[in-house]
Symmetry: C2
Subunit: 364 residues, 2 copies
C-alpha cells in the first residue's frame, strides 16, 4: 500500500504538492516501472515537469539526505522504527524543522476476554489466519495475544498452534527482513519464561517458518524486550489470570497502530474498561475482528502514539491522510476576486464550508 | 490573550485534558489570582482534583523541566524564539517525542502598493497606530513596511514618522523586555544603510520610545539581521523601486504570523501575485487592514511557518486551536453501547458527522 504509487504519494498530489520518492532498494525495477507510469500520467495531463521524482539508493542515507534538504517540507515514511526515527531526528534538527509522518512498528495487541472463549476454536482460527497473512509482514499484524484464563483457554492455544503448525514455510519480502526475523526468533527461543507452543525455529531452507510463544502476564509486564515487534509470522500468547492482570498488561503497552478486543455481550463491562485504557494507546480499536484489513475510507485511522508513529495526529491511510501535507491560511478582508476558489463567496467548488460556525454548502 | 486563563489553557480544557501552567515570572501575583479562580471554578463544577496546576519559577528552566516530563503530552507556548525553540528542542529529544506549539517571533511584513498611496496619509496613520498599540508588544505588530516608490511615498514616510514622533515614551511589560528593545535599537542605530526617519534613541528615563528606520529593498534583502524581530514600537520602512523588488523582498522573508497587503483596485494584479507568494510564508494574509487585531473566531489562523511557530499546522487563536490537543481514534465494529457519545448511532450530541463521505447531523 505504501510503495511508489501508494498512500504516501497520492495524498501529496491531492493537495497540489510535488513528490520526491525514495524507492526501496529491495525492488528497484518495480519501483521504476510504477514511477514511469506516474511520470507519463503527469506529462499527459499537463502537470508541471518535476511534479514527481524517483530516487534510488542503498540503505538509509538517500532518504536521510532528502529529509535534510531545504526544499523538502514534509516527510512520509513507512517501515522500521530505526528508519523512521532517524528521519525524524534529522528533520527536527534542521534550521527549519519539518513534519515527519513515519509509520513504524506495532505489535497490535489482541485481548481475548472470558466468555467469548466459548467460541475459542473459531476465534483462534481467525487470529492465526490474520497473523499468517503476507508471511506476517503487515504493519497491523497481530503479534501479541493476551487471553484471560478460563476453562477454554487451552483449547484456544491448541487451535491457534495447530493452524500455525500447518502453515508452510514461506518467502519473505527480501533477505534482510528474513534475516531480522530469524535473528529475533533466535534471541527469544531460549529465554526463560517463554514457552514455545507452536511453529518451529523460524527458518527452513531460507524460508520463514511461523513461531508461537506463550508466557504469563506478570512476566510479560516485567520483560520490556518482549513488547518489541518481531516483524514476521510471530505470535506471543500472554495468559492473564484475571481482569486485573488484563488491565495491567493493557496499561503496559507503548503506542500501537491497533488494539483488538474480543468479547461477547457478557464481557461488555470489561470491553468498555479496556477500550478506555486502549484509546490512550492506539489510533484504532477493533472489536471482534482482525487488525490486518485496513480500509481506505473516511473513518480509517492508520496511525497511533509514539513509537507506532512519529506523529499521532495523522493517519497514513484514508481520506484524512491528505491533511498531513496541508497547513491552514486565513485570508482576511480579501476582495472576492482575489480569494482562492474554495473561499469565493459563490462557492464555485460546491464544497462544505464553515460560515459563522455552521457548516454549509450555500453561497455567501 | 495567552496568560494563565487564556488561549493556551482553555482549548486544553475544551478537549477534556488537564493543564499544568508555568506562570510568567514578571507577574506572579496576577497569575496566582487567575489560577485560584480556575481552581475554584473546577472544584465548584465537580472537575477532578489536579485538572489545573500553576507553577512559578524563574527563567526558562521550570518550563523546560515540564516539557521533558513523561506525563506531559503536548506543549503550548507564546513568547520569544529562544524560549519556544528551547522547549521544542527538549520535546523532540524525549524518548517519546511530543508536539510543541510555540508561537514565537514575527516581523509581520506590510506591503504598500503604488496606487493605494493616493491615500498615503490615511494608510500611514492606521499603520503607525497599529505599530504603537500596546507599546509595540503584540506578536502581530507590523514591524517592517515595504513600500513601492511613487510620488506619494515621501508623504507616507513623513506622516508615519510624524505619528511616531508624537507618541509619548511608555512603560513596557517588564524591565527585561525594555532592555532587549533598547539593546536591539542600539545595535541598529549606527549601521550603515539604515536611516533613522522617526522616533529617538529607544529609551527616555527608562521608558520605551518608538523608533523608525528606513532602507532600500536591495540592502534589506542582503542584510538578514534586519529581518529579525525587534520586540517593541519599532518600524523599518523598506523602499522598493519597482514591482520586481517588491516580489524579491516578499520572497526573502522567513515564516511569519501575518502578512498585510495594501492596494487599491488598480493594484489588483500585483495584489494577486503577492498573495500567492505570501501564502507560502504566513498563516494569515490581510488586505487593507492592520495585523494587530486577532479575532477569536472560526476562521482565524494565528500561526505560520517556522520560525514564527514550531508547528505551522496549528492556530493558537480561535475555535480550531483545540485541535492542537487532539488525536484521532478509529472505533471499528463497536457495538453502539460501547461507542463514545459522539459516535453513537442516534447522534445524541446532535453534532455534524461524516457518514460515507457526506457531512450530516442525521442519526444512523
Amino acid at each position: 500500500g505504501f510503495s511508489v504509487g501508494g498512500g504516501d504519494t497520492i495524498p501529496v498530489f491531492s493537495v497540489g504538492c510535488p513528490v520526491v520518492f525514495k524507492a526501496h532498494s529491495a525492488h528497484p525495477a518495480t519501483s521504476e516501472a510504477v514511477g514511469l507510469c506516474i511520470r507519463d500520467a503527469a506529462l499527459s495531463t499537463g502537470m508541471p515537469e518535476g511534479v514527481f521524482s524517483l530516487l534510488h539508493g542503498n540503505a538509509h542515507s538517500a532518504g536521510q539526505s532528502l529529509a535534510a534538504h531545504p526544499d523538502i517540507k514534509a516527510v512520509a515514511f513507512t517501515g522500521s522504527f530505526y528508519g523512521g526515527k532517524s528521519l525524524y531526528d534529522i528533520a527536527v534538527k534542521r534550521p527549519d524543522p519539518i513534519p515527519v509522518y513515519a509509520e513504524m512498528g506495532s505489535v497490535n495487541p489482541v485481548f481475548i476476554l472470558p466468555t467469548i472463549q466459548k467460541q475459542a476454536k473459531s476465534v483462534a482460527e481467525k487470529l492465526a489466519a490474520s497473523n499468517l497473512l503476507g508471511v506476517g509482514q503487515f504493519c497491523t499484524n497481530p503479534g501479541i495475544i493476551i487471553i484471560q484464563r478460563t476453562a477454554d483457554t487451552d483449547q484456544f492455544i491448541e487451535t491457534y498452534s495447530t493452524v500455525i503448525n500447518a502453515a508452510p514455510e514461506q518467502c519473505m519480502l527480501y533477505p534482510g527482513i528474513a534475516d531480522a526475523y530469524q535473528s529475533s526468533v533466535n534471541e527469544l527461543i531460549n529465554q526463560s519464561g517463554l514457552q514455545q507452543v507452536g511453529g518451529s525455529q523460524g527458518n527452513k531452507n531460507g524460508f520463514a517458518v511461523p513461531v508461537v510463544f506463550s508466557t504469563t502476564a506478570s512476566l510479560f509486564v516485567e520483560n520490556k524486550s518482549w513488547h518489541e515487534e518481531v516483524f514476521g509470522p510471530f505470535s506471543l500468547i500472554v495468559v492473564a489470570e484475571n481482569e486485573a492482570e488484563i488491565r495491567t498488561v493493557a496499561g503496559s503497552f507503548k503506542g500501537q497502530l491497533t488494539v483488538t478486543l474480543w468479547g461477547s455481550e457478557e464481557d461488555e463491562k470489561q470491553l468498555g474498561q479496556l477500550s478506555t485504557i486502549c484509546a490512550d494507546k492506539t489510533g484504532r480499536i477493533i472489536i471482534n475482528g482482525v487488525p490486518t484489513g485496513v480500509e481506505v475510507g473516511h473513518a480509517m485511522v492508520h496511525g497511533g502514539p509514539f513509537p507506532s508513529t512519529t506523529d499521532s495526529r495523522a493517519t497514513s491511510v484514508g481520506s484524512q491522510s491528505i491533511y498531513r501535507f496541508t497547513r491552514p491560511v486565513c485570508f482576511q478582508d480579501f476582495p472576492d476576486t482575489l480569494l482562492p476558489e474554495s473561499l469565493k463567496n459563490e462557492n464555485p467548488l460546491k464544497i462544505w464550508r464553515k460560515l459563522n460556525g455552521e457548516l454549509t454548502k450555500n453561497s455567501i
